[in-house]
Symmetry: C2
Subunit: 142 residues, 2 copies
Amino acid sequence: MAEYKTKQKSDVVSYLEKNAGKHITASKIALDMNNEGIHIGMATIYRTLEKLVDEGMVKKYFIGENDGACFEYIDKKNSCKHPNCFHLKCEKCGKLIHLDCHEMSHLITHINSDHGFIIDPMRTIFYGICQSCQQKANWRNI
Amino acid sequence: MAEYKTKQKSDVVSYLEKNAGKHITASKIALDMNNEGIHIGMATIYRTLEKLVDEGMVKKYFIGENDGACFEYIDKKNSCKHPNCFHLKCEKCGKLIHLDCHEMSHLITHINSDHGFIIDPMRTIFYGICQSCQQKANWRNI
DNA sequence: TTGCGTGCAAAGGTTTTGCATGGCA
DNA sequence: TGCCATGCAAAACCTTTGCACGCAA
């Protein structure tokens, strides 16, 4: 069960590191790396991503719509140790907002004690509309 | 652009009504209805669901994992005029749990007024570990 | 009759799998 | 040398689309 260090895997990892915080599909990874002259087969990309997700280095989620699953590099150094750290993602502009608010610890405690569910803040994203997009929506009357 | 009333559409609607609050894939709809002796083509199911989503009668989710998109009937009379309806998804067993709790309206108000972000509860999923998986984890010492 | 809805089949995507080959240890 | 990782192609899916036919109005 030993793991080998291969060029392909480290290429994928460094690509993801460079794009930390972005949400990237498997095909976009292949495309971008191709443009850099690195060709990696789709199967390898998927197999590598699967491992990285297991290791916790990458988060996989489904925002659906046209493309498939999205992957995002999780920077363990910069990411928050406090369990108050959530993310807000704007559905209009795609902006990802950091939320570090102690109000959130109430939420976690409540859902744990009253609903028996332990929230994983790192994996949870609140979807909605950010402030600037709300204003745009107002003046466009959307 | 007139809409016709067809047996297939009303069958799908009544199936979804019977399963209000559940999260159902298109193929499960086809399978279940087949077991009831009703055969509807996949294309029709997808086209019907698309319309129902546009009408707001059904919500479409991407919770990913093995299956495709999930659909859920939205009962306008009973549920979710209050934005208290969230979903908890267990990362171990994949179970999707409904959470209809007043506490959540505090959360929404807080994030709106203090952080300028309007949460869309129907699209937001809390990831974490459910109660039964916590217990399994305990006895297995995972 | 009109034209939307349906069913079938085929196409378009993404993701997985089998198998021979390549490359790390 | 072992054995995992890779690449290619094919398969397995989910979902969409084209087209002829059926059926509601």
